[in-house]
Symmetry: C2
Subunit: 218 residues, 2 copies
DNA sequence: TTTATTTTTTAGCCAAGGCTAAAAAATAAT
DNA sequence: ATTATTTTTTAGCCTTGGCTAAAAAATAAA
């Protein structure tokens, strides 16, 4: 059984090594967790002792297979609880992350098994992120960022990269959610900004906006 | 915001002062929480500082109004989650307590508000214990112990005093659950044992069994 | 009303998980 | 190839929430 602190480190390192490809630096972990590098060093050494990750001084950390398994279980719990909060308790997608951060640490495999069944074994969470199955397998989807589309292409919104309250509320205001069709009417090469069409609405989006929305083109 | 440890102390003291009427001793808390009296002294002094309880050295502790409010909120959460686990996830009533012990510490008033609504604002948990409303009011029910009934009286099972797995599983085996009608066919004055009828079944119950089952007589 | 027993508190120690400041290693710049 | 800068680790300290052993207070017995 891992402590709350340990679980949070494992989860953070898991997410970091997805993007940062491979080894994760002490500083990256510290920044991501809003803590100090010295604290990270301590914990990473401890988790290395426990064979949850491999760690080379001054080089960085990398989860072992065991570590990835633990991380995946936490991610599964987090996302299932988010589905519960949105589908059953009618929370809005920008309100659920903080609560799921707490719920993901509830220990009970039976609970998750039953929750999953109760929710109809969803494959994606409310933000379009895949929910690993009980064996830890993620579905592989090819999706691209809205910013990668060209003029006159269109895509279906399938997820968000950033899921801050501010960003999600912006999307709401613009009536964009999972499943929404988006037409690219124009694209400015200078700054990457776009003019898009959502339903009957046409409006301008900055590159920052377009860089955080995943779409599926068919 | 109170820590996990603080919340558990507050909850325990709340339950103890229900029965023990008033002030709760250091030793009683220690025994109930399976910890040492010296640890209790420390925590009780700290909670006294925080005005959660009043505490007189060598006399004992007693929750303040604020303390009772905190405790009530935790009890409400615990029991609502138990209803969720049984009604929605189809857990059995003897399996939910441990999980609810964890879930009761999730912090979010909005979550509880919505969970309560989702469950249809239940008044009782799966063990027949009343769920305080959002203002902390418990419904007052007059119930008595099965052991207090006389020969040829009958009662409807409305709850259990003990809710250990062993006891709940015994009740299951005997097909007794909330709402079950129980006829007292005979009562032995020497040891308080009874012969009761449940459905078409007639069997013997010890005083210990009868002492832990709440019934309503009309 | 002393004496014995039980209950409670105090004193001192420990592990987990933080922090700051200083040292050391790695990397970048001259 | 040095020197400067950045990154990372180490050393030492703090708080929380435990523990044991000894002291003190309250209660029960004689
Ligand atoms: Mn989330
Ligand atoms: Mn999510
Ligand atoms: Mn319970
Ligand atoms: Mn209960």
């Amino acid at each position: 059984m891992y402590s709350l602190a340990e679980e949070n480190y494992i989860k953070t390192i898991f997410h970091l090594q997805q993007t940062k490809k491979g080894v994760v630096s002490t500083n990256a972990i510290a920044e991501s967790m809003d803590t100090k590098a010295s604290s990270v060093t301590d914990m990473v050494q401890k988790l290395s002792e426990k064979k949850v990750l491999s760690y080379v001084k001054y080089k960085g950390a990398q989860l072992t297979e065991e570590g990835k398994k633990i991380a995946t279980r936490i991610v599964r719990k987090h996302r299932l609880w988010e589905v519960f909060l949105v589908d059953k308790l009618e929370f809005h997608w920008d309100e659920v992350h903080e609560i799921a951060e707490q719920l993901e640490h509830i220990h009970s495999t039976e609970l998750i098994k039953r929750l999953d069944k109760f929710l109809g074994s969803p494959a994606f969470d409310p933000h379009g992120d895949p929910i690993p199955d009980e064996h830890g397998n993620f579905v592989k989807t090819e999706k691209k960022l809205l910013s990668q589309l060209h003029k006159s292409q269109f895509g279906i919104c399938v997820g968000v990269k950033e899921s801050s309250t501010e960003y999600l509320q912006y999307l709401d205001k613009k009536k964009i959610s999972i499943g929404t069709k988006i037409n690219v009417l124009g694209k400015e090469f200078f700054d990457g900004s776009m003019v898009i069409e959502v339903g009957t609405n046409q409006f301008f989006v900055s590159k920052k906006i377009a860089d955080n929305l995943y779409v599926q083109t068919l």
